[in-house]
């Protein structure tokens, strides 16, 4: 691939994205967001399949949620050599097209929040690595599943 053709794609202005706002003071730590995330995206349940991560610390009296902030300038998008990281035209979510993903891990290494926070991880599909991250439930008419199931309104989709 020539450098020029690649530049054509990446110099297009990136649409600002909606993002998930987390209200720790409301969060009950029930984990429904994680369960809903895995269930919606994979149709199966395991917290390892969730794109949002709840950090429990019952001893510190706090919960935290880690989820992609949908960066204004998304490192994953610029780093991907296969154009697998794309911008959703509706919400602006930075999502990974599983078909195009070549499993190189450039996105994960480019992510400014990793490795401290688990924003991008991979699964093995037919022997190949396929990366996945929060896509704000692209194409889901009701909006992000985690927002919809949260009993305490601790998650909110903020559009920009």
């Amino acid at each position: 691939m020539k450098a020029s053709s690649k530049a054509d794609v990446k110099t297009v202005p990136v649409k600002q994205s909606a993002f998930l706002k987390y209200h720790p003071e409301r969060c009950t730590g029930c984990g429904a967001c994680e369960l809903a995330c895995a269930l919606y995206h994979e149709g199966k349940e395991n917290l390892a399949l969730s794109r949002i991560h709840l950090i429990y610390d019952p001893f510190a009296g706090d919960h935290k949620a880690e989820v992609c902030v949908q960066c204004y300038s998304p490192g994953c998008y610029y780093a991907c050599p296969a154009n697998a990281v794309q911008i959703d035209p509706d919400t602006g979510a930075r999502y990974i097209d599983e078909e195009k993903c070549i499993g190189c891990g450039s996105c994960e290494r480019a992510c400014p929040l990793m490795p401290e926070k688990l924003i991008i991880r991979y699964k093995i599909v037919d022997g190949k690595k396929k990366y996945f991250k929060c896509d704000l439930c692209r194409g889901r008419p009701e909006g992000p599943a985690c927002v919809e199931v949260c009993p305490a309104s601790a998650l909110e989709l903020v559009r920009r």
Partner: protein, 660 residues
């Protein structure tokens, strides 16, 4: 038979004597017939826990079991059941169960196991570490022995990673206190039964589970398949709607004050069960199910954080809206109270037995002038308003110092040793203390409601109100999610549920149907599992007719496992489980006589209207109960026909001999 969804598919069997672990396939027939959790435990116990096993011997087993809904987006599904021979039971230990919320069960399933069976006993302290793809290791716990449950869990998280979910025993369990708990997190516990002491007798300090939730690579093990994800989403929304009208804004529901005093400390609603669908304390309880952060305790000079749920917050204060005798009221500063509550969790002491049992007994005793501090051997005033009194008693109990040596044996046994008169001890029957009986911490529970309570207490093999009896008080008093029902609404509801308005009316009529219904539902609740504090959802403020949807459990079961049952068919499984548990008790020698041991307790006047149990009428009620159950009214044994009807042929054969 179609594919069985929802289960992880394997059971881990650990023999601590030989230090060997075996991974067994989940018995699919058991799974279909007994669902999981409490039901599976009863089935396994029938095979493996024969009568006459001493709770502290290496023959006793600890059977931890999750259900098909655990770890899945099913409301309140994150519970784990536990069964074994329970040392707390009085006068002779028998098979019973316990149950805990927290993250342990779900994480266990994500590691590929539906349950764990612990057998034998180790010579040296060990802990079990389960991780990644069904990797199991028995590791040395000599460094952990002696630590409290919080420190143990933190240490295990330090060793095995932050995502580790663990259960652990504290000093009370190590010293075989019959009221020792197995704790998880800062408020969850397998509380009742004294199973912490069983773990202690096996020298098993903790079980740590590290799933791959924080791993970058996702692999196949422990990925739980769901039959109908779309339907599950719809059911989740439906549950939210029924419980709280959809998504709630917590700050609108936080109670601002208690007894006229402003609650000044930072707190937020806390889910005590994984996948809990609601704000439990909304509008009703002031302190249950909260997470507190950095409460400055002036007495103990610490900033304390932690979670409170269920009975634990009673350390902060105790006062029922009804007529609690003045001498058993107390209130502590919440910060000091939280320290005391955390201390009991750290030491691993059963708060139901401690607060609701021996502590109440001592306060009553002192106020009546029957025993002084000196008689009881306590070197400080018995003063429930003093946090240091509580702390001292807890330490003495956990380390078996002085009077604590008796208290560690449980309220029933301790009261005997301390010479506290029976009528002051809130011990109902079989070693469990007052709960839903109108005469102790549940003193607000009025006549005639506690008659149903008495039936449940008589026929269960433990305190029935932790996993069975919540529905009835929720109906008669209203709940966190539905305010008090209007008289007309209440009548319609109980008529619809149990066929007779008398179920909530004065007198002894019509009390059998709610008892049996709740028992069968209770079996389902801890087998599926769902959270018994919300389920079955019988009433709702957010439907036009005020009814909830008691068939929700069947719908959730179908969406997860792919097995379509009606609510009645599922109730039949509940009935099967309850009868199997009864059969286990019968095999251990239980008869109607044991059931009637509740009578003296209920013959004490209750706390609100000073009503006592009418023995004659109650015995008739028991007759009626046995008949409705298909049990022999003379002996209390399930009749052969009933057992065969429920598919318990193997039980019938063993109880009644092989001949037809």
């Amino acid at each position: 038979m179609g594919k069985l969804y929802g289960y992880a598919g394997k059971i881990l069997r650990v023999n601590l004597t030989s230090q060997k672990t075996i991974i067994e396939n989940l018995n699919e027939k058991y799974a279909r017939d007994y669902i999981g959790g409490r039901g599976m435990i009863a089935r396994i116990a029938w095979d493996e826990l024969k009568p006459g096993i001493d709770p502290f011997s290496s023959d006793n087993k600890l059977i931890f079991m999750t259900g098909p809904l655990t770890g899945i987006l099913s409301p309140g599904s994150g519970r784990t059941a536990l069964g074994g021979i329970a040392p707390q039971v009085y006068p002779r230990p028998w098979f019973t169960r316990s149950n805990s919320g927290g993250r342990f069960g779900p994480e266990l399933k994500y590691c590929g196991f539906d349950g764990i069976i612990i057998e034998g006993a180790s010579e040296k302290p060990v802990y079990l570490w389960i991780h990644d793809e069904r990797q199991v290791e028995i590791l040395n716990a000599e460094n952990l022995w002696g630590m409290d449950t919080f420190a143990t869990q933190r240490e295990l998280s330090k060793i095995h990673g932050n995502e580790t979910a663990s259960i652990a025993i504290g000093p009370a369990g190590e010293r075989l206190a019959r009221i020792a708990t197995i704790n998880s997190g800062s408020g969850n516990a397998f509380g009742q039964g004294g199973f912490g002491a069983v773990m202690g007798s096996k020298k098993l300090k903790a079980i740590a589970v590290t799933s791959r939730r924080n791993a970058k690579e996702v692999n196949e093990t422990g990925i739980l398949e769901v039959a109908d994800p779309k339907r599950l989403f719809e059911l989740w929304q439906k549950t939210l709607k029924l419980l709280q009208g959809g998504r709630a804004i917590p700050e609108e529901h936080l109670p601002k004050s208690y007894d006229g005093v402003e609650i000044k400390y930072p707190r937020k609603f806390h889910a005590c069960t994984h996948a809990c669908p609601g704000l439990c304390s909304r509008g009703r309880f002031v302190w249950s199910s909260f997470m507190w952060k950095d409460l400055p305790s002036k007495v103990f000079h610490v900033n304390e954080s932690g979670t409170t749920m269920c009975i634990g917050p009673y350390f902060m204060g105790f006062e029922t809206e009804a007529a609690a005798p003045a001498h058993v009221k107390w209130s502590l500063d919440f910060a000091d109270g939280l320290v005391v509550k955390n201390l009991s969790d750290k030491l691993g002491i059963n708060q139901w037995d401690f607060i609701g049992g021996i502590a109440l007994a001592m306060f009553l005793c002192r106020c009546k002038g029957l025993k002084t501090e000196k008689d009881l051997g306590i070197d400080c005033p018995i003063n429930p308003n003093d946090p240091n009194f509580w702390a001292k008693m807890l330490y003495m109990t956990a380390y078996r110092q002085g009077i604590g040596d008796y208290i560690a044996e449980g309220t029933a046994r301790a009261a005997e040793k301390l010479g506290i008169p029976d009528e002051l001890v809130p011990h109902v029957t079989c070693g469990y203390t007052e709960h839903g009986a109108g005469r102790g911490v549940w003193g607000f529970f009025e006549y005639p409601y506690w008659i149903v309570g008495a039936l449940l207490w008589a026929t269960d093999n433990r305190d029935p109100f932790a996993d069975t009896g919540h529905t009835y008080p929720r109906i008669v008093y209203g709940t966190h999610y539905v305010g008090p029902l209007k008289p007309e609404q209440l009548k319609n509801l109980v008529k619809k549920l149990w066929g007779t308005e008398e179920a909530v009316a004065e007198g002894y009529d019509g009390k059998v149907a709610p008892a049996i219904w709740m028992q069968n539902r209770g079996c389902l609740t801890s087998s599926l599992p769902t959270d018994d504090y919300s389920f079955p959802i019988v009433a709702s403020s957010f439907t036009e007719d005020g009814f909830g949807d008691p068939s929700l459990e069947a719908q959730l079961y179908a969406a997860v496992t792919g097995i379509e049952y009606t609510a009645e068919q599922l109730d039949k499984i509940g009935e099967r489980i309850f009868n199997l548990e009864r059969a286990i008790a019968v095999r251990e020698g239980r008869t109607r006589k044991d059931d009637e041991r509740v009578i003296p307790f209920f013959k004490r006047p209750n706390w609100t209207r000073r009503v006592t149990l009418d023995e004659e009428k109650f015995k008739k009620l028991l007759d009626e109960y046995y008949k409705a159950r298909g049990w022999d009214p003379e002996t209390g044994w399930p009749l052969k026909g009933k057992l065969i009807e429920l598919g318990l042929d193997y039980v019938a054969n063993e109880l009644y001999g092989k001949k037809p």
